[in-house]
Symmetry: C2
Subunit: 341 residues, 2 copies
């Protein structure tokens, strides 16, 4: 029997489903991805609409999980499906729910794993956590953190997420929602954050934060020669900033210096909290390589207590961008099997 697990990632726009083996190979991936229910489908936040959206969504994903398993079984008849791992926004590992979040149109807490369990009673392991926690487990089980018992995963995307591993296990904390490093204050009274507070790490160092820095610097220097001055706010990607920096555009270069300065200072705080062996960065901006890593590492070492200087590894994630979400989610199941052993 070849053991495999289902990896499910509920993103803001799309939901990905795949089948993953113990080595992290994706044996099947649903293409195109499924649509995640959108806020615009429930603009008045009506409870009855929300309930229907939840019901339809659960039907869709459970039926697609069956399709996925059957697809793999065609090629490998003797697979044993060990469980379903799910990454989802604002997910609570302890009770299997996803909370009310700006990213989804559901107006009540959704008992996600319970609803899936009811449709797929044959699975004894159905676990959910947020995508950054899933990525941390993915890094530990398939990626660059194999053998590490204390490390931190930072995901740089629309927001900034994190997964904290202490003593070989994810830190969920008392309420199941630990690891919200995107919402630590790095600049008191700084940039407004989506959560309502000011100066949070994700307002500076997420992919979106980097975009904000670009436009802040264009405005500051009134710079019309930068290639970035020809790109609209909504069109700008981390990749474009990277490409401009490679061309020695001073705005783009300063963006990475500034991002690295703030991220590195915050990661020094992270080290003072947790004394990790390594910190992994994941997401679009990581493709900038040393342009991002060099100033971040320099800043981190600058702010670290002497004992820690030059000791903490700052590494790019080894998870593949395309399948990381599925692979990370699937890792939840292997971790659970490991705990029960």
């Amino acid at each position: 029997m070849k053991q495999v697990v289902v990896g499910l990632d509920i993103g803001g726009t799309n939901t990905a489903i795949g089948i993953v083996d113990k080595a992290g190979n994706v044996l099947y991936e649903k293409k195109p991805q499924l649509p995640t229910p959108q806020k615009k489908e429930n603009p008045d936040a009506r409870l009855d609409v929300s309930e229907k959206l939840v019901g339809d969504f659960i039907k869709l994903i459970t039926s697609e999980i069956r399709v996925a398993i059957e697809n793999v079984r065609k090629d490998i008849p003797d697979i044993e499906v060990m469980g379903i791992g799910i990454g989802a926004p604002f997910a609570n590992y302890y009770d299997g729910t996803i909370g009310i979040t700006a990213n989804l149109p559901f107006v009540t807490v959704v008992p996600l794993t319970g609803l899936i369990q009811a449709k797929l009673p044959e699975f004894s392991i159905i676990k959910v956590t947020n995508d950054a926690n899933a990525a941390a487990l993915g890094e530990m089980i398939y990626g660059g953190a194999i053998g590490m018992n204390n490390f931190v995963m930072i995901t740089l995307g629309t927001g900034l997420g994190s997964g904290i591993i202490v003593n070989g296990d994810l830190v969920y904390g008392h309420d199941g929602l630990a690891g919200e490093l995107g919402h630590v204050t790095v600049v008191p009274d700084g940039r407004p954050c989506g959560c309502g507070s000011l100066g949070h790490l994700e307002t500076y160092c997420s992919a979106t934060g980097i975009r904000r820095t670009v436009f802040e610097l264009l405005a500051k220097y009134n710079n019309n020669e930068s290639p970035l001055a020809n790109i609209a706010f909504n069109d700008l990607t981390s990749k474009m900033v990277f490409e401009a920096a490679v061309q020695n555009d001073p705005i783009a270069l300063e963006v990475f210096e500034y991002t690295g300065e703030i991220l590195g200072r915050s990661l020094a705080d992270t080290v003072h909290y947790l004394s990790p062996e390594a910190i992994f960065l994941f997401g679009g901006p990581v493709a900038a390589g040393e342009l991002l890593f060099a100033p971040t590492k320099k800043s981190m070492d600058h702010y670290l207590l002497p004992f820690y200087k030059n000791k903490i590894k700052l590494l790019p994630s080894k998870l593949k961008t395309g399948t990381a979400a599925i692979v990370g989610a699937s890792a939840l199941v292997w971790k659970e099997l490991d705990k029960r052993r």
Copy 2:
């Protein structure tokens, strides 16, 4: 047989030794406390002087441990001594060493538990950690955190220390030195910290930080009517600030507001990292009660993500100030026995 443990606390000035039972009762305490070797005894940081100081100190404490045990045995002949728990600055739980620190005259890393073990080979458990970690264990085993699996202990003294409990165990991290919350940055480019960096939490919210705020505000307002204006920097204690605040002194009241604002913001960060059930405060400034707790709680809730608002308990430590160091250190041994069970 009545099981007891030895609690040893190596402070900057004095070293305390006591015998503690399973309920946290101190059955014996060495009075007066032993002198901790001082920097002035080794002003030129000479290796040979350092080695002699270490050797003499180990002889002194091991002989006093024997005296302490014999003293208790006189009253309770059938005690079983389960081990020695030690709180010490810059101590590494994993390897039993204390690092080179500004508080001690030793110029090399001291293999503390090994040296004690050599003199007292009959003990199978000799463990060391820093005083804030020891206090966290003390709170969990004897104090207000009984039954809690996720909480944070903050000690407000000359510096600001912390002990983090996740999943019922202390977070030591990869290098054994996690939980240095005194050295997270709360005001970028803020007050100089003893460690060489700027704007660290302990420069604002330790007992020393509170004193700095008093003098900053006296200077700012050029206030000569405050009772605090008649006290020299070196003479000012948290208690005096508390007493002035009770008398409605505007400087003292603003000091607590300011301290609470910064501490609360930093504790919100702590919650976003760790999702603790509670945060305990310990140390001299805690005696100010609501004068400190009210602005801290208000600020923490202000900065917390909506999900956490009004959910996190902010509590005074239940450890008694006088014996907390011994009692906290002793908790290390009970925790170790618990792990081995």
